[in-house]
């Protein structure tokens, strides 16, 4: 049994190994690039320059950081639980890394397109919550403990909207195979038919990645880094690596499932390079959005975050799934999807506004030209 890689027939083991090897290199470079890009973009949002010192325009900053982290002392607190503390980086990193296996980079380049790709992704990626809890509990640190518990609560709560929002899109394609989903959007991406699901996916993805405004587990101003407050050096960088790898994976999944991956808008008969451009533009746009949101919004509080997931997002995903089912079963026109999506999104925004602007009026500032004497 043989497989084909770049036109060469090779053994399936070597094929798999080679592809995973390419992914390793790709991931490392991407993560470093993402860190650099994030710093630059955030800096521009804040009218700063960002890294400028290392290499031309600071491009080697990530390399320098990585070298520094490798050279840093790797400390383990005396009171920490050795096994959980030492194993947590693996449990955080490996599941994220596994997510790379199913990514549909291009039409004909991917590690493997699994028939149950989306399910596989969902199953694998949620494991890393365990790693966060392990890191939090194992450190024997109160901040880490609180951060780990928060990570667990947040992770499980946003897992459901994320999964169901992806499922809503997969229903339309009738497949969990990511390539099939991309091909199904050859002309119109699902973001058009499923704006609500896309929004929910985006929000839930932010929460899964512990990105602002959902960076509660790692909230710098409260729990000082959360679960990995006790980690240093290379062990800490594993969390960082996982975080940015997750950012990339989720952006690519979002780009594939809702934005049409390498296909839309020019159809699928494209050269490899055009596909590359399209897929990077879409994933890059999502990543930029993540950075943009990071620069603009404050952090939610844990109870608000949980309420938002359970009381707002989750019921709406159910509604979306039911509507999708009805449309598919009774062959209603697709416009119904768009309409319900827009209505649902409007409802979601309205609920959010209502929840925030509670009945109480906006505090009026009593201006007095002459203070009562």
């Amino acid at each position: 049994m043989n497989n084909e890689l770049f036109g060469f027939e090779i053994n399936v083991w070597f094929d798999a190994l080679a592809r995973v090897g390419i992914i390793v290199g790709f991931m490392t470079v991407t993560v470093m690039a993402l860190i650099y890009i994030e710093r630059k973009i955030l800096a521009r949002f804040q009218m700063r320059l960002g890294p400028t010192r290392t290499g031309p325009r600071g491009t080697l900053q990530s390399v320098a950081d990585a070298l520094k982290l490798v050279g840093k002392e790797d400390l383990r607190p005396r009171m920490a639980d050795p096994w959980t503390f030492e194993l947590a980086p693996y449990v955080v990193f490996v599941p994220i890394f596994l997510g790379f296996v199913i990514l549909p980079f291009l039409l004909d380049w991917h590690v493997r397109i699994l028939e149950l790709g989306l399910l596989y992704f969902v199953a694998v990626s949620s494991v890393n919550i365990v790693g966060w809890v392990m890191a939090g509990w194992g450190s024997d640190n109160r901040y880490a403990m609180i951060g780990g518990l928060r990570a667990a609560a947040q992770g499980i709560s946003y897992e459901l909207p994320l999964v169901l929002a992806l499922l809503a899109a997969a229903m339309l394609a009738g497949s969990l195979n990511l390539n099939t989903i991309v091909v199904a959007q050859a002309h119109i991406p699902y973001i058009v038919w499923q704006p609500l699901a896309f929004f929910i996916f985006f929000v839930a993805a932010l929460a899964e990645m512990n990105r602002p405004p959902f960076d509660i587990p790692v909230g710098e101003s409260e729990v000082v880094g959360g679960p990995f407050v006790e980690y240093s050096g290379i062990r800490w960088s594993m969390f960082f690596l996982a975080e940015y790898a997750a950012l990339f994976i989720l952006a690519l999944i979002g780009a594939s499932v809702f934005l049409g991956g390498w296909a839309w808008p020019l159809g699928e008969e494209l050269g490899r390079w055009w596909q590359l451009v399209l897929v990077s533009a879409k994933a890059g746009g999502l990543i930029f959005l993540v950075f943009w949101v990071r620069a603009s919004v404050p952090r939610l509080r844990i109870d608000q975050l949980m309420s938002y997931s359970w009381k707002v997002l989750l019921p709406l995903t159910f509604v979306q799934i039911v509507v999708n089912g009805a449309v598919l079963v009774y062959d209603w026109p697709d416009v119904v999807l768009l309409a319900t999506g827009v209505v649902g999104l409007g409802f979601l925004f309205w609920v959010t506004d209502r929840a925030v602007r509670r009945p109480r009026p906006r505090p009026a500032l009593v201006a007095q030209s002459e203070a009562a004497r």
Binding site: A43, R44, F45, Q46, M47, R48, L49, T52, W292, V293, A295, S296, V297, F349, T352, D353
Partner: protein, 156 residues
């Protein structure tokens, strides 16, 4: 959501603005002329000796006691055949820049206008590895004005 949208637009508008960062070692901040860095002694170029007579006025007025002043008889005084009208002159002068709080009082109490805080020299780039390196002696305190590196600005 409207508020979040407003936030996003605000950040987007600043995204397009020019960064305010100055790349420090390459680009220096323009220092206002009045910037009082650290106290320095002035050099009387006409007679070629310091203005300071070592009268201890600044030493007494210094709130943080960062100065040490010692005076001596001026060998250049007219009575000794020299050209100076100063009977006494500064012998030793130390200022601990690490302790100086830049309050300008020494300048205000000086009767001879011998000390100034308006230099444009190294005043804000004084990083050293040893705190005792920040203790300046007479030669170091005089060197800047002697070399003409100080832009004059006298308060009042």
């Amino acid at each position: 959501m409207r508020g979040i949208a407003k936030s996003l637009l605000t950040t987007l508008s600043t995204f397009t603005r020019r960064p305010v960062t100055r790349e420090y070692p390459d680009v220096h901040r323009p220092i206002p002329q009045r910037d009082r860095a650290f106290p320095l002694l002035l050099w009387d170029t006409e007679i070629d000796e310091p203005f300071c007579t070592g009268c201890h006025a600044c030493e007494r007025a210094c709130p943080v006691e960062c100065m040490t002043v010692l005076m001596k008889d001026n060998p250049n005084h007219t009575s000794q055949g020299g050209s100076s009208s100063r009977r006494k002159i500064i012998d030793k002068f130390w200022i601990d820049y690490a302790r100086c709080m830049r309050c300008n009082i020494c300048v205000e109490v000086c009767n001879f206008d011998a000390i100034a805080m308006n230099n444009t020299w190294q005043g804000h780039e004084l990083s050293v590895y040893d705190r005792s390196d920040l203790v300046m002696d007479l030669q170091q305190l005089l060197a800047q004005h002697r070399a003409g590196d100080i832009k004059e600005w006298v308060a009042q």
